[in-house]
Symmetry: C2
Subunit: 304 residues, 2 copies
């Protein structure tokens, strides 16, 4: 099987690519120029360019069986600051990519959507895939719109799309420290002896997934052709305050806390019901949050 | 009350503007250059330009209490042929407009969404506002994405949005004959002695609303500040075949029928449950389909 990974040099992509290689798949990466950190991985076919550029994409799609679309040109904060750029980069970019898939005859795509933002604010204890989707951020709206376009291309052109609504991944190779991911940001601020910043009360609840659990989930959804929309997360809700306790405990460093006002695009509570994905793909998350934080902390501190 | 009508020179807009004037509202129209047919209506303030152009929009929003957004730069067929243009024209255009509302302090908007396309294919006898929304067309996806952005601007910036998911309107002043609206297209082809074209079997079911019923519904949603998402239609499902019977009967002309293949972006069945709008706004459709077709036919034939 040959898999094209859009955004294969990023945090999630780097883990997925290694998991794909171990599974025996052939891997091509299309990512932005300058996205590669370190050496090229042997056996991987690298292309650099914009995922919405027809000339590079038509080359990237040659002989591909399935695409893993991990690209986002924004994070929630930057999307909120410039929703037009969010739509142009991510929605128009993805639809242009789908047009290329359609004309090149590649029929399968796995798309990483956002379990943390597509549902919006809700009182639900746990969110199912058929829960209402009323995002309160541009980021979540664009993710949802890409999902809906995948449905259009499925219905009209026979594209087979697996949408993964992923919770908050953390672990080695995290990028965008300070922008993306509370756990990487907290740990790195501890290392840098900076205060940990909390927007709001610290009672906001999220679902965190260790990167190896996420990459194994994506791998399964690539290997098994079972289109649909699926939540992928730990299924467990943790407050920001609990994260701080764990981070303090794991690192042995007592953090300074800096309280900032609530951000209007942050939802209060997101816990994903992952039973649909779990049952369909025979997958379960295996890394407990405290263990994952410990592994991540050891990786951050490096050898010695 | 001063109302800005985006697309006020179009089919629906022309009826809404007259209803607004009768109600005592002050009306400003912003529409494309060249959109005005006939004379300017006395007492209406006209502006011509693009609804996403900040310079004209900032002028258009001065002293406005509520906006009626009736603009679409596409119809389902053209949106399917060029989804990028659909996203750029309608989604980016609407978000740019919302940014202007936000900065100008105008807080209320009534948006005309599409009851016929946002739900997609479904077995439901009748669609409620909380039915799943899985559009099979770009047109429906973009309408839904605009709805979701209205929710984002409501949540983050206090914009109060009333979304009307409208069924298929028909009646005097219909434009885009052949592109938009089966009833206007069928009647005009009869007049032109052209065959009536049917895509698919003719069993597809739609919900049709006479234009005066629709404009009275929009007027109520402008007058009463009750944000939310509402279906607006007749609540009755009619097949294409039944429409042909009525059109034949009303016109007294036996049509030639030309059968064409199904279009992939046409849904099979859409009947709207309009009880939420009906109860919230004390509104009911009053014009039966056969009566509406008769009135429309008389208008089309003109005096004498």
């Amino acid at each position: 099987m040959r898999c094209l990974v859009l955004g294969g040099n990023g945090f999630i992509g780097s883990h997925l690519v290694r998991a794909l290689l171990l599974s025996g798949a052939r891997v091509r990466i299309l990512d932005r120029p300058g996205s590669l950190r370190g050496e090229e991985i042997s056996g991987v076919d690298y292309l650099f360019g914009d995922f919405s550029d027809p000339s590079i994409v038509s080359e990237a799609l040659i002989d591909v069986d399935v695409v893993a679309h991990l690209v986002s040109t924004t994070v929630p904060g930057s999307a909120s600051a410039d929703p037009i750029a969010d739509i142009s980069g991510n929605l128009i970019g993805s639809v242009k990519f789908l047009e290329q898939m359609r004309s090149s005859g590649v029929r399968r795509i796995v798309y990483l959507s956002s379990g943390g933002t597509v549902y919006g604010n809700t009182d639900a204890q746990s969110l199912r895939e058929d829960s209402p989707t009323d995002p309160i951020s541009s980021y979540g709206t664009v993710k949802l719109a890409v999902e809906k376009y995948l449905g259009v291309y499925a219905s009209q052109y026979g594209i087979r799309a697996t949408v993964l609504r992923v919770s908050n991944p953390y672990g080695p190779n995290s990028r965008h420290i300070g922008l993306q991911g509370i756990i990487p940001t907290f740990f790195s601020r501890l290392i840098d002896k900076q205060p940990i910043r909390i927007w709001g009360t610290g009672d906001n609840i999220r679902d965190y997934i260790y990167i190896s659990d996420l990459s194994s989930a994506i791998l399964k959804s690539i290997e098994q052709d079972k289109p649909g929309v699926y939540n992928v997360g730990s299924g467990t809700g943790i407050s920001i305050k609990e994260i701080i306790e764990i981070v303090t405990d794991v690192s042995g460093i007592e953090p300074q806390i800096e309280h900032l006002p609530d951000r209007p695009f942050d939802v209060k509570r997101v816990v994903l019901d992952v039973s649909k994905f779990s049952q369909t793909f025979d997958w379960n998350p295996t890394v407990e949050l405290r263990d994952g934080c410990r592994m991540y902390w050891h990786w951050l501190k490096g050898p010695g």
